[in-house]
């Protein structure tokens, strides 16, 4: 790819839109996952007994649903990303490639 072609791609408004929006979206979701996970790890590190708090009269503790919910969050976030990326972002990528013509 020549410098001229690189400039052409970089100045394409759709390419700019694709890159900005996708990286914003990807990083937001990553940060949500990291915050959820490291919050969990910090609780284990600093206040493990919190997860042992009983939820009712039985043996069930608050830690069990929290753990299971984190597993679900991981799956749901993955689903959210794939839905948007395989729809909107891929459409945008296609348009960028069409506009760039011979470079792509």
């Amino acid at each position: 790819m020549t410098q001229e072609q690189i400039e052409q791609v970089k100045n394409n408004p759709k390419y700019q839109k694709l890159v900005t929006e996708r990286s914003k979206f990807a990083w937001t979701l990553s940060i949500i996952m990291l915050v959820v996970y490291y919050a969990f790890i910090m609780i284990i590190a600093f206040d493990p007994s919190f997860l042992g708090t009983k939820m009712g009269d039985g043996v069930m503790t608050i830690g069990i649903p929290i753990g299971i919910v984190i597993i679900f969050i991981a799956f749901i976030l993955a689903g959210i990303y794939v839905k948007r990326a395989n729809g909107e972002f891929d459409q945008l990528t296609k348009e960028v490639r069409e506009e760039l013509g011979d470079i792509a």
């Binding site: 990807a26 493990p48 997860l51 991981a74 990326a85 792509a104």
Partner: protein
């Protein structure tokens, strides 16, 4: 080829026959498990059949390394899950839950949460930039020889450590389940894995993974349902029974002693998350699909299967507390006489296996045993293929050959020799480590993946100022730190070398070694003012465009 497979099948049948002979002497210890042997033979024959089919379709290097790039997202998701749901996670995590309850869930979550992040940040870029190995990506705009050497070294170290753990696990498992001598079991695994990989390449390896993943998920689902149905599908009732049965009682419902201090907790979290994103056999799977769209789908399905699987292992572990722990049938009387308590036959990692017997009798025990063995076979095949690719594609084709024209047929031949060599190394190490404490091995593999492979790969895609010097020096520092801290840590320094106290007090070095790697790469890159560094930085934009859009990326081959 066909003949060879026939011979091997015949050999396997005779091995099974021998097994039934040798077991008679010690029948009071381990009754002959006919259903396990039959089901295992069915699995092996089936997968050898697939290997034969795959061998006919594996003609080019692209076929061999990436199954021609024609695997669908769903299939690849299954195969990734297959790679990831190793015997170590199936038996190990259910065993951990059995032993410590909630602590098992902490591990599962750590193993899982890396996946969405890999999806958001890495998977599509990897697919758009790479060809056969993750070193293709790391070395995209940097100097081929040094980067590939480092990446190959990190890959081979990870692969061999992982192989040791799987081989030792396989040997012991088969010894216990089928009554085969340890060495025979290890050799058998080694030979089968060499056959799958050398003849069937990535296509056979992928299908072995998919079949194994389906078997494992169905088996584990059945076990979890059997346990839950015992308690009218009430989690509360199941936990209550487990709390009553377990010597630690209510403590199993909260984090216990496994992760005892903040540094260890954070360090373990980093190792599990970044380690996953640096495992060569997992990264390689992203090149088997046709484009970024399928790569994303793969991770989505994989995350679902893996998450579901971990929920199952959690229930299985608790089921084992209730049905195995106080059941005299599974008690290791010899061990109990020495140490007291209620140890189970084969140790805590056999909890899931015993539970399969408790809920489904001998037939189901046979099924789960065969599945566990199949799991090991599938995982070692994936590992070996990744290791062999690092040797043939990175070291041979791009380092020794100095990036010149490589005869594709020759590269594939090298890859097959490398597979055989790795198979033999795995057999030898598997036998050598039989009586060794291998608790550190998987941890070390993850630490190396997180501290050497991941930082270089990640920064090569995201940081325009990265240079060859920075990547090589920083990556090597990360690798060295990880290895050194594991040696000086409590498991190797105290438990294996027998010293009084550990020089490095933490079990998991990742927090420190990953930091060293990132800081090292950063420092040696920004201080690099060579002409070469300028050139490498200038190349980032073109690389970034390809990684964002897939312009110029490798597609699927036409057949």
């Amino acid at each position: 080829m066909k003949k060879l497979l026939l011979i091997v099948s015949a050999l396997l049948f005779s091995v099974a026959a021998v097994a039934s002979g040798t077991i008679e002497g010690e029948i009071e210890k381990q009754p002959l498990n006919v259903s396990a042997i039959i089901m295992f033979i069915i699995f092996v024959s089936g997968t050898l059949g697939i290997t034969y089919w795959a061998a006919k379709r594996t003609k080019t290097a692209k076929d061999f390394y990436t199954a021609g790039g024609g695997i669908t997202g769903f299939q690849n998701g299954m195969a990734i899950a297959g790679d990831y749901m190793s015997a170590a996670s199936f038996l190990g995590i259910s065993g951990l839950v059995y032993l410590a309850g909630y602590d098992g869930l902490i591990y599962s979550i750590g193993f899982l949460v890396g996946w969405p992040v890999i999806l958001f940040l890495i998977s599509e870029r990897l697919r758009n930039l790479g060809k056969y190995t993750f070193a293709d990506v790391a070395a995209y705009r940097l100097k081929q020889a040094p980067i590939r050497t480092l990446a190959a070294f990190g890959s081979i170290a990870t692969v061999i450590l992982y192989l040791i753990a799987q081989m030792v696990g396989a040997g012991k498992l088969i010894q216990l389940l089928f009554g085969l001598p340890y060495e025979v079991a290890v050799v058998l695994v080694g030979i089968l894995m060499i056959l799958y990989v050398t003849f069937g390449g990535m296509l056979a390896t992928t299908w072995v993974q998919i079949i194994k993943a389906i078997l494992l998920l169905s088996g584990a689902t059945f076990m979890a349902i059997a346990v839950m149905s015992h308690f009218g599908f009430s989690l509360e009732a199941m936990f209550a029974a487990a709390v009553e049965a377990h010597p630690k009682h209510q403590a199993i419902m909260a984090p216990g002693g496994l992760v005892s201090d903040p540094i260890s907790a954070i360090s373990l979290g980093i190792a599990l998350m970044f380690g996953t994103a640096g495992l060569p056999h997992i990264l390689m799977r992203f090149f088997t699909v046709s484009d970024a769209k399928e790569a994303r789908k793969s991770v989505f399905y994989a995350t679902g299967f893996i998450g579901y699987f971990y929920i199952l292992t959690f229930i299985i572990g608790f089921g084992a507390i209730i049905m195995v722990l106080n059941n005299p049938e599974y008690l290791d009387l010899a061990k109990q006489a020495i140490n007291g308590g209620s140890p189970i036959l084969g140790g805590k990692n056999m909890a899931a296996i015993h539970l399969s017997h408790a809920v489904g009798g001998n037939f189901f025990l046979g099924f789960i045993s065969a599945v566990a063995f199949a799991t090991i076979l599938a995982v070692v095949s994936g590992l070996t293929l990744a290791g062999a690719s690092a040797i043939s594609h990175d070291l041979y084709a791009n380092v020794f050959n100095k990036g010149g024209e490589v005869d594709e047929a020759k590269e594939m031949r090298v890859s097959k020799y490398a597979t055989i060599a790795l198979g033999i190394i795995a057999i030898i190490l598997g036998i050598a480590f039989e009586k060794q404490n291998i608790a550190f091995v998987v941890g070390l593999a993850f630490a190396i993946a997180a501290s050497a492979n991941f930082p270089v790969l990640f920064l090569s895609m995201f940081w325009s100022k990265l240079t060859t010097r920075g990547a090589v020096l920083g990556g090597s520092l990360g690798l060295a730190t990880a290895v050194m801290l594991v040696i000086l840590g409590p498991i190797v320094w105290v438990q294996i070398f027998g010293n009084e106290t550990a020089i490095f007090p933490y079990k998991y070095p990742a927090l420190f070694s990953v930091t060293v790697a990132f800081v090292g790469i950063w420092f040696f890159s920004i201080t690099d003012n060579s002409e070469n560094a300028k050139k490498e930085r200038a190349l980032f934009e073109a690389q970034d465009i390809r990684s964002q859009t897939g312009i110029g990326a490798e597609g699927a081959s036409e057949h």
